[in-house]
Amino acid sequence: MSLVIKRYIPLVITFLMGIIMVIATYFFAPGTPARDATALLTGSVDILVVMAGVIGLIVLIRHHSVNISKRGRFWKYSIFTIIGVILYLIIGLYGVATHPQHLMYASDLFAWVYNNIYVSMDMTIFSLLAFFIASAAYRAFRLRSLEASILLIVGALMLLGRAPVGGAIWEGLPTIATWLLNVPNTAGNRAITIGIAIGAILLAIRQLMGIERGYLGPEQQ
């Protein structure tokens, strides 16, 4: 009985939810009650994941608080994470209290912090990759294989063809870059997309059949 409640019922729920979504999408026309039920289900996911986000935030705070209290590795930096979470959360809750629709992200101060503080750090951290990608190109070049050469030559042509300096050096470079993007890149991308689709569908089927159970957490609990 215990095993039924702890493991089998969640697996049955997963199966039923997935099957309802598939059947409603393929066998019922838009506007029918069955198809409208899928809108309720997808809307429910939006609501359910918020609480998952809350749990994630609590776990993050707990992890860094424990790290500070135990003087763990890099504990001093955990203080910055806690400060960031608490300050931004207070701003967010203030936004919820004052916004006419009680929204958080849409509130003035929260959006201001996002646009002026968060984006500032986000852009800088992501632009770091511009430097690391150069060393990655060097490592690829050292491989001296045809595949690595194709990767680098296409990458270099794309860079030159897309940047204004490429057109200034030779007017044919933008044309070559456009052709590379539209023809070989399309072929490879389509193959990858089809491969991803097949893989994702199989993963979803495995999940619905109860073969993939990692999302349920540890077996012993």
């Binding site: 997935g18 992200y105 500032s120 070989p184």
Partner: protein, 245 residues
Amino acid sequence: MIPPELDLFAAIFGVFATIFIYSFLWKENPLSRAVEHLFIGLAAVFTLAFMYDAALTQGVWGTARLYEGNLIWAIPILISLMYFFFFSKKYFYLYRYPVSIVAGIMAGMMITGMIQSNFLVQIQSTAQLPLVGAGVWEGWPPPGLDSIIIIIGIITALSFFFFTWEHTGILGVSTKIGRYFLMATFGAAYGGTVMARMSLFIGRLRFLYETSYSDWFWAWYLVPIAVLCVVGVALWQRSKPQAED
């Protein structure tokens, strides 16, 4: 209403955060780590806020939703409270119920969505490539030749992911050609990524150079001070080599 003085704070913070993060390129140091940790905290709350707004708009303020008395939208809110059993050892299994609902719905959406947008549409687009007709074999390169290259590229690249048989003989040749197409795709993605990241880098440089407040403060005034902070911390670290951080 946001006080305009906050823009001065944003400029000062932006300069220090930018220089501290870029100091990572020289060497990982306490300043870059501090800003990264602060970013993690902000990112966590921002992600939650984004999801919260989507849920509130979807479940409460949307048409015919909870706000208008459609109480069915209270059910997912009540079920979502079961997530808190994550912290209970005894009742942990109840946490699996909302997780299984989300996993099931997402799996169903993945099956229907992937079949339509990522599988059928890609095959349909390939089948519609022009091979015959007026103007298909005119100009250079002719669109018909491009179509043939794309079709060959897709078939050979797909064969690369085919592991039922060993990649020898005709299949070996096909996978080899497919690998070249895949490398060209990765090269194009590489070029695009570099361009995007360089554009972000230029954006940060422009921020440092152009940001001002009330015609008396320019952000770049603070750049040498931020650099001195980084150098000072590096020298302090060097004087204490045994310290972990």
